[in-house]
Symmetry: D2
Subunit: 297 residues, 4 copies
């Protein structure tokens, strides 16, 4: 990764500082092998953007680095690192909470565990199960999806807006924009539909001179504005679409055919989505911090 512009350094700045203006980063797509693309250049891979991209633009860059490749998310992670520096008081952490059909036991949640395993699992006990499950998936030439949870702590009450630019709508947009994401929820999310009003509406009590919520079904956002509680977002990643098992599809010239995708492919791209989700949270919050400062000083 290279910084193209927006930073400055001399003998007086004690390292790189921003010039106050946009920072341009570039990540070269170097790891793209000149492999044989003859199979996928004319076939639409099911689950991929091949067909829709072609339908819109009439052509498509099929060489492992096309506009629809999840490689694009690397730039989000890089940008997220900058965004975090804009909101130093905020701590953003992500975790994998479900792999295929196997969810963690939330009672075991321990943020410290996230760094101890390759799954970003906060539940140490889930790791072995997931390993077994993924081994089977890989051997079957198949793939599976996942659910990621991202939590931001330290966001003060007041970021966001009541209509247009709601904090939750911008988070939904950001997370849904990540490749392969099919669902986003905040706080209790879809489960809130089954709660009673008494259970759902987080009660408040004064504590140490400040209002404190007694639960967090709202996921830290009420009416589009942060409440000062942890901001809690979950999103679902569909199974990797590139699988070894042959699938039915058509060619761009309109003939029925089959395709199976060889080469390096994670059976569960959702795992890699954890840092991407953190980055998107950081980007949305940094934006809202700046807007909030503009709005109310």
């Amino acid at each position: 990764m290279k910084i193209l512009s927006g930073v400055f350094e001399d003998d007086r700045t004690d390292g790189q500082v921003t010039t106050g203006t946009p920072i341009a980063l570039v990540i070269e797509n170097v790891d793209q092998r000149s492999k044989d693309y003859s199979d996928i250049r004319d076939k639409f891979r099911p689950g991929h953007a091949d067909y829709t991209y072609h339908a819109k633009y009439g052509l498509r860059d099929y060489r492992g680095g096309g506009r629809s490749s999840a490689r694009e998310t690397a730039s989000r992670v890089a940008a997220g690192a900058v965004a975090r520096k804009v909101i130093p008081g905020v701590v953003i952490r992500g975790a994998l909470v479900q792999v295929g059909p196997h969810a963690i036991d939330r009672k075991n949640w321990d943020w410290k565990e996230v760094g101890n395993n390759l799954f970003f699992s906060p539940d140490a006990k889930a790791v072995a199960q997931w390993e077994d499950y993924l081994d089977g998936v890989r051997k079957a030439g198949s793939s599976c999806g996942a659910v990621i949870e991202v939590v931001a702590s330290g966001v003060p009450a007041g970021w966001g807006a009541p209509i247009y630019g709601k904090l939750d709508q911008d988070l939904a947009s950001a997370m849904m924009s990540i490749n392969a994401v099919k669902g986003v929820e905040i706080g209790a999310g879809f489960a809130s539909a089954a709660l009673s009003g008494e259970e759902n509406a987080d009660e408040i009590r004064m504590k140490n001179g400040k209002p404190e919520f007694l639960s967090n079904n709202a996921g830290g956002i009420l009416g589009g504005i942060s409440s000062g509680q942890d901001i809690v977002v979950r999103f679902a990643v569909k199974p990797t679409s590139s699988i070894l098992s042959p699938r039915r599809t058509v060619t761009k010239d309109g003939n029925d055919t089959d395709i199976s995708t060889k080469g390096r492919h994670d059976p569960c791209v959702g795992i890699r989505a954890v840092p991407v989700g953190e980055a998107m949270m950081a980007l949305v919050l940094a934006d809202h911090f700046l807007r909030h400062r503009g709005q109310v000083g």
Copy 2:
């Protein structure tokens, strides 16, 4: 509702036509009763935006028509009616698919039933159950949530974009921006996490000279671009926060207190969210239709 500007009519236009420029609509908030607001003016109602709005702006319009009121969604429905005229080939329909913990049986889905009951239920058999359930909720002074599904048919392949302005991210933003919504999913949504790659990636076959998908787990969107299949979005609405049962909260001056909300309040605001969701779908699609026309002619 009144049209303030953007339309024109004379003896040659055969009714109102647009002037090609923005249409301004106004809906007066007339049904606001000069009731006694002394209770809620100083107390933060749990589950509402009272606390967060106050935290941001230092004041709050507590009189039944504040900026955070769901009454604002009436303007979305009005705007949605205009948006539908922009995309005449698209049919947008919404339905209630879950009330509290009670989901419909999707095997019974019949769009014609939606107009036959007050719940917008596509499953005639769910209606009686929901009526009973809601009666109980109402009598208990409680409330419940719901899940809404909105489907757009007739959207051609190609609307959207691969990065920035993805169709799915804009739909997620739009639905999450509706009051009380806590989750949005597209196609198989959160359930896709538990599918195998083979199950999830919708296969394609030629039919009548055109590619046809054999399933629709993608919900009509791949890589941020419409596929020509039905666009399927679901969103979860939390339980109505205004309930009769007293709840713990604090006053704006920092004292512990209780609050119970009297007056007209739907025990399940999710029901009213069906036309709102349809309207938001129409607005997003109309935007994307215009953008698409600009992008590719």
Copy 3:
């Protein structure tokens, strides 16, 4: 004018206060007489937007209140009044500095005179000349243009940005967007082309512990950012296009014809543009104040 939303008042607010969210104002176009429009409904008035509007949209609201009417600027003046409240330390004043070919003598500039005459002239001596000149223009069924100068004092150094959202580019956009404006300049403007580098670049000296510019050819903006000096913008308004003298034109059906515009029409719409220019200055500065606060805290 009516405020539709965005303000709030109760017994504790000491008058109307904003709710922190957008303020919607409406000015009804009441003064529109049901006169005979048969002449202009099918003819394109030279100098007006009739032809271009019709070319774009295929129809046109010809009834004195169309989208292209300068009546629209009333809404700008109303919005400008709100904008001024956002930047209380800034004083914005406009003046007419040229009517037809007759410019003021800048040596006579006295802001106090602006309120003493109907021309907003800062040069008391120009008034009689302009009155005579305009009388002749009116009697001839003709019209004339004008140049307006708007000055903002009290803007601190730092508002704006070095690229994208430059303060001067936003001012140019704002002023050029006023109906009938054909030119915008800042500081020395077009005259700067004929200055030498020594004359043009405003020198700086410390005064009372602060940098002070010894001249203001920059018009208070350097590199897109305010310098703390007065912001000085001038714009040219073309002659009123509605004139009594018959002019050659065509009908929308493609026939040659003549048109002369009867009815109330200022021979010099530029005079009314003074408060509009002030309002646009206020709107741009209020935007930049908020952005600046967001950008640098």
Copy 4:
């Protein structure tokens, strides 16, 4: 210059084609000499953005490639080359029409001459005079300004909008955003203030079955929308601020001092602004072409 993304090429595309998505270009700032910046790092150069940039951000990149450097306009010219491809039917040409106080004689205008001299002068007779004049300016260690005219032919009637996104306001914004520009005018521009209504409003007659304007004081834009005539924009560039003659200024620590700028510096940066103005015209028109296509199909 390098293309980072947005284009694609294989054996079937007959050269590079766009992928339909944003094209990223990079121009490395390679020609920046590691010269001694000790003089300007602490002094604010009059006429430059040094003081204002520092006032806003608290620091400033003083090394010949800072954010406020006119070198940034190279990227505009590169982007303009792409924009021209979006609007193939439009021909955009720029010319220098004034150097210092010396304007061309418009009767001598010949577009073919523009390529025959280093001044982009359309008036062959002006060249010798300008050469003499600039020699004197250079020898005096001084500088001078210029006026540029950019003309776009082939723009159909209908691009733009009556309010918000007016074609003229976007052109004004674009031209004023170029470094050192202090004024922008369209068509008759500031001179229109001194015209009579009869002279100014361009009359129309049918010719070959189409409306034709008999003059072009409007500069091709009426009511924010293109008329089908040539779009004519002029802008004034102030004298180069970097001059050899010492000028009074202050240091960032608040001390009076003098500065004279050595090194390569055009005595008239306005000459180089001709291709930049063309590029900005192309960018604005390409934007409006796409918007127009979205708006009216």
